[in-house]
């Protein structure tokens, strides 16, 4: 059995997709236009009552889903915003913002009018570097609890 203070780095999720677009347009589509393509019916919380998805396309902006009753559920916060090269999110859906994992999306010219989009979802262990002792505390990070086990199982 792993000890809480022996967290090992877990493999990130990496995805690549090529689109027929300039990086500028692809970047804009991923951010400002997210509500027109994100599959909310399959990928949202409480999908029966979800209304839309908002990406505040600026540094410090939030990503949140809006509900039919007007309430919102936060998903992420924009940590780095450098159009059209990419952006970085603190991804904290379902956990406290301080326990966020990291989503980095980059857009690069693939030639022939194509843009390659690379998505890297990492830092599931969320090491809280400013407070490594927190690992040993009672309220150890939720992502550690969840992902150390499932990732360890998946990649062994």
């Amino acid at each position: 059995m792993n000890k809480v203070n022996q967290i090992q780095r877990v493999a990130p999720i990496e995805k690549k997709v090529r689109v027929k677009s300039t990086s500028e347009a692809a970047f804009k589509a991923f951010t400002e236009e997210i509500a027109s393509w994100w599959p909310l019916d399959r990928h949202s919380l409480d999908s029966e009552n979800v209304d839309s998805l908002v990406f505040e396309a600026e540094l410090g902006g939030a990503i949140y889903q809006t509900m039919k009753d007007g309430t919102t559920i936060p998903w992420a916060k924009v940590q780095k915003f450098t159009p059209p090269d990419g952006f970085v999110l603190d991804w904290h859906i379902g956990v406290e913002p301080e326990n966020a994992s990291r989503v980095e999306v980059t857009f690069s010219d693939a030639g022939d009018g194509m843009t390659e989009v690379t998505l890297l979802h990492s830092d599931f262990e969320n090491s809280s570097p400013e407070d490594p002792e927190a690992y040993k505390g009672h309220y150890a990070n939720g992502w550690v609890t969840v992902f150390e086990d499932c990732f360890a199982g998946h990649f062994k």
Partner: protein
């Protein structure tokens, strides 16, 4: 079972502490209540929610029930994230590719 249940179940710090404690060994409600800063009935209520989200399993052990981590729920979260990005990027590609103004 929906993934929303899993995330809502994990959204509470006490429930995450319960999972954290169960990573080390299966425990009864009484054992968990001694470690947690909440009452025994509260621990029971949290365990019920975790069980519904398939994050823990329950096994009768003598006069009480023993709770253990259920890998099923944990594996589902990882698989959920992986498929979420597959689905979403596919939808993103379809959205961008169908816009003629992007094809310069």
């Amino acid at each position: 079972m929906t993934y929303g249940n899993i995330f809502l179940a994990l959204g509470d710090p006490t429930r995450r502490s319960v999972l954290e404690a169960l990573r080390h060994q299966p425990m009864t409600v009484g054992m968990l209540a001694k470690q947690m800063p909440v009452s025994r009935p509260a621990v029971s209520q949290h365990l019920k929610i975790l069980k519904e989200a398939e994050l823990v399993t329950v096994t009768p052990k003598g006069a009480s029930n023993e709770y253990a981590l259920n890998r099923k729920g944990l594996d589902e979260i990882r698989a959920w994230l992986d498929s979420m990005w597959d689905d979403s990027l596919e939808a993103f590609k379809a959205h961008v590719d169908q816009k003629p103004e992007n094809n310069n």
